[in-house]
Subunit: 543 residues, 2 copies
């Protein structure tokens, strides 16, 4: 229908020249600046206007879009993705070369074979777009680096006859622009590939746009993780928060401590070997996605205890050990010896500047039952405030990890229980109850925050719950401008209690796409009907 | 672990001979006949007892199981599924030949290749089971027939050295017994295939055990339907209720009225051709599954109107037609001419003795707006009771379908609105509100009932909602013994508003397995912990 409408608009387009459609108008249906509630009818030209521009296929919606009804044709046999003149990147840039190959496939992959085998390319009236030239402007394009929190993901895309030009400061922006360009290209009923002349200026609203996967409750085969990284790239996510181990299993194969997975994994083949981990990191890097591993302590560690003797706290019933274990034992030097060595490995294996140290949901029951822990509490002057013991432990771990020059992410309890945190610590807010207040507190203390509370996608319900995720406004919390700047993004979390390879993809996507647009697009991109239309097209494309 | 426990129990087995474990004991954990609530601890020998018998892998649980810790080995290269002496079926029975091939694959498929390529078969101490002999006792085994409501699905299975014997009156019982036998065979850590000596006597509690799939809200590719038929066979379901068309689309390609799908399908390739329909019916037949098509009228028919002029009621605003249409127009002779021809085709294409005629959720608004309908109401003396008009229409359709010697299924409203129904009409109870009362009314009127109300599996929620489906007791409604007999079964319904090929399988299975066991197994098989264990194994096997 997009093409049909494009044709119907052809004459008008010629008469009027370029149709200016700032993205915000397209997305909200506003014509005169007045906000429109959902119940009000759309203007009668709404369908026409939306159909006439390629914006109904873009997700997440770029910050600024100008589009024309004039269409250019792409011939798969001739069209090229190339490095443009003046780019600091060239054929030696493996990351872009890989992206060129990938996006060529996305755009023409299946149809090309069909066209070649069945019929010659039909000569058409439309002018042709022959190239997309990619120009990286920074002196160091970043081809061999890993993305980080400060990566520049902005890009500028112009699609005009005879070549399209994609400019970005770094390769990370080029990756985002390639995704957008591929979303502009569409196939008509006759198998021709078309793109509307357009100009797009785009950049992310938030720097940290993450998806949490949990490979402990259920093991996730590599293929599931890689497929998810593809889907993340389609939605301009840039952080894989890999909740790799937990109580239930320890699939991470440690180089220093192989017994952790030997004993703690569900089985000897349900592990992530060093090669597997490198593959995930590289696959993610090529898509501009950071991999932040989470090694959650001192709670959520039952599986660690199987392969590491004396790491967990023995629980007592009166004077008798019960045989059960609680959180990591915070009173032993051996604990910190182990953690020092363990996190040295993690700091090397995972190149990202941040490690997530967990710190959530520490159950004090076992600590309270243990006579030696009680004695330690007394010596330290903690009284009966076990949150102080937790903070004592966490600060030791923070110090260890800091010594390896890694930044730290933690769950909100670490902040709530008053651990002394370095200013660059990222506090992840997950508790659904009054999360706006928590964001206010965290940023009020000068700390950086990431929001997850409204985006726990493992919770499912009947119907279009994506609208709920979409309608969250992350900055809607009390605080100064400075505080607002400290909220650097959010994460969609897919905890694994009821998720494995059989249902991960259909459960996460396209629901997580709603979070993806909220974190990328402008804050005034909030119209649900427009989002529904674009999301429908986007889902179809992802499939 | 089953095997390890079997070994540990080996000596005890020799001393005690066969361990008698009636299925009910295994499944409920009862040892002394007293009901145990979920919160009470299990007896300490529970794990041992359950692990020592193969019953922890059976789903749905057979009516009667006797098992021994003595294990027999199966050599894939030698083991055979064969027709036993005295069977009325032989190599000419395509249905059984196909089932033999299928179950051989399920039991040995992957491992066989591995064993052949990597190592010779190791000679073991266990005695060998060399054959499963299948004996059909009825003079007509039913190989070329279609299953029906009166099909005999009972079977008797004995597994003893050197041959296992599966006796059934008809092939339908043999299919169920083959599934059970395959569930008994397990692979140990060394790749050996083992089965415990056992005896099983089994039959279904209810004759109608269905799954509803909806191919109108989203088109379901043939592959999804066939995969689901496989899963249904794994769970001893025997009815595919194919809700094939609805408001949203008409994918059924009619022979007499091809325009229905030409105009009413989502697109020209999203249809079920006559060949597709035959394939589904035959694939189902080979698994002992009936295919009951639903052509729901007079409501839920928007898509019919696109390809069949004047079939739907024009809606009016005052004296002006609005251009919109309502339910099927019940006042025109042409409507009944069409339906006569249409259902003649359906009666031929679908061999099942029943057709589902729908009849749910008829919205009277459009009928009320139409002056000709109002005039008709007056002439017929219906006053303003549009339920009478609905019944008038439905009875005409029932008469048409009856003339083709087909039985009828209808949704509960057809009964509620007092249509005169033939005694063999099957009324499907779907409204969640007080469905026990509805069952009481339907069966009190002497009509046959099928229960779906508590099993709408398109509704999803967080966590193990299978327990909710499992805990339904269908016969828990007020009524006489005779009334209870009129409830012939139930259906798990997966409506398609939010279901397509991407999520059908993980959304339906294993949740529908809970319904499968409720409809097959004895009413006292209700222990959730035991069910959880068996369902976990069953899911793993299905995957």
């Amino acid at each position: 229908s997009r093409r049909t409408m494009g044709r119907a608009m052809g004459l008008a387009g010629l008469l009027l020249g370029l149709v200016l459609v700032p993205a915000v108008l397209v997305s909200t249906g506003l014509r005169h600046g007045a906000p429109r509630t959902e119940a009000e009818p759309e203007p009668s030209d709404w369908e026409l206007a939306a159909d006439a521009v390629p914006a109904d296929s873009l997700w997440p919606l770029p910050q600024w879009v100008r589009t024309s009804p004039r269409q250019l044709q792409l011939a798969p046999s001739r069209f090229q993705l190339v490095h443009g003149a003046g780019s600091s990147a060239g054929p030696g840039c493996g990351l872009l070369q890989d992206a060129f190959r990938r996006y060529y496939e996305y755009m023409f992959g299946h149809s090309r074979r069909r066209m070649r085998s069945r019929r010659p390319l039909v000569a058409r009236a439309e002018p042709e777009l022959s190239q997309l030239q990619v120009v990286i402007e920074a002196s160091d394009p970043g081809c061999d680096r890993h993305p980080d929190l400060t990566s520049n993901e902005a890009y500028h895309l112009t699609v005009t006859e005879p070549v399209a030009i994609l400019k970005a400061y770094e390769v990370w922006g080029a990756l985002r622009g390639l995704e957008t360009f591929s979303q502009l290209v569409h196939e008509d009923d006759y198998g021709s590939f078309l793109v509307n002349e357009s100009e797009i200026n785009d950049f992310p609203r938030f720097a940290h746009r993450g998806v949490l996967l949990d490979s402990s409750r259920h093991y996730l085969p590599l293929k599931s993780i890689l497929t998810n990284l593809d889907a993340m790239a389609f939605n301009k996510f840039n952080v894989l928060h890999w909740h790799i181990v937990d109580d239930q299993s320890f699939p991470y194969q440690s180089i220093y401590f192989p017994e952790l997975s030997d004993k703690g994994a569900y089985s000897s083949n349900l592990i992530y070997s060093p090669t597997d981990v490198r593959l995930v990191i590289e696959y993610a890097r090529l898509r501009g996605i950071r991999v932040i591993p989470e090694f959650d302590t001192p709670g959520h560690t039952q599986s660690w205890g199987k392969g590491q003797k004396d790491l967990l706290t023995p629980c007592y019933n009166g004077q008798q050990p019960t045989g059960s274990f609680g959180p990591v034992n915070p009173i032993l030097n051996t604990t910190y010896d182990f953690m020092t060595k363990f996190f040295k490995e993690i700091s090397t294996v995972f190149p990202d500047a941040y490690i997530h140290l967990g710190g959530d949901e520490v159950d004090f029951t076992c600590w309270k039952s243990n006579p030696e822990v009680k004695e330690f509490m007394k010596r330290q002057g903690f009284g009966t405030d076990y949150a102080k013991l937790e903070s004592y432990y966490v600060q030791n771990i923070l110090d260890i990890v800091s010594s390896y020059n890694k930044g730290q992410m933690v769950w909100q309890e670490v902040f709530d229980h008053k651990a002394q945190l370095k200013p660059d610590t990222v506090v992840q807010v997950w508790m659904a109850n009054n999360y706006a207040h928590e964001l206010s507190s965290v940023t009020g203390a000068g700390l950086t925050a990431v929001l997850s509370a409204p985006w726990y996608l493992d919770y499912i319900s009947y119907g279009q719950d994506w609208k709920k995720y979409y309608s969250v406004e992350p900055l809607n919390f009390p605080g100064s401008e400075k505080q607002k700047k400290l909220l650097i993004g959010g994460e969609a979390c897919l905890w694994g209690e009821f998720v494995d390879a059989t249902n991960l993809t259909p459960r996460l996507w396209p629901r997580a796409s709603a979070v993806g647009e909220r974190l990328w697009s402008s804050s005034n991109v909030t119209n649900l009907q427009d989002a529904y239309k674009r999301l429908t097209n986007h889902r179809c494309r992802m499939l």
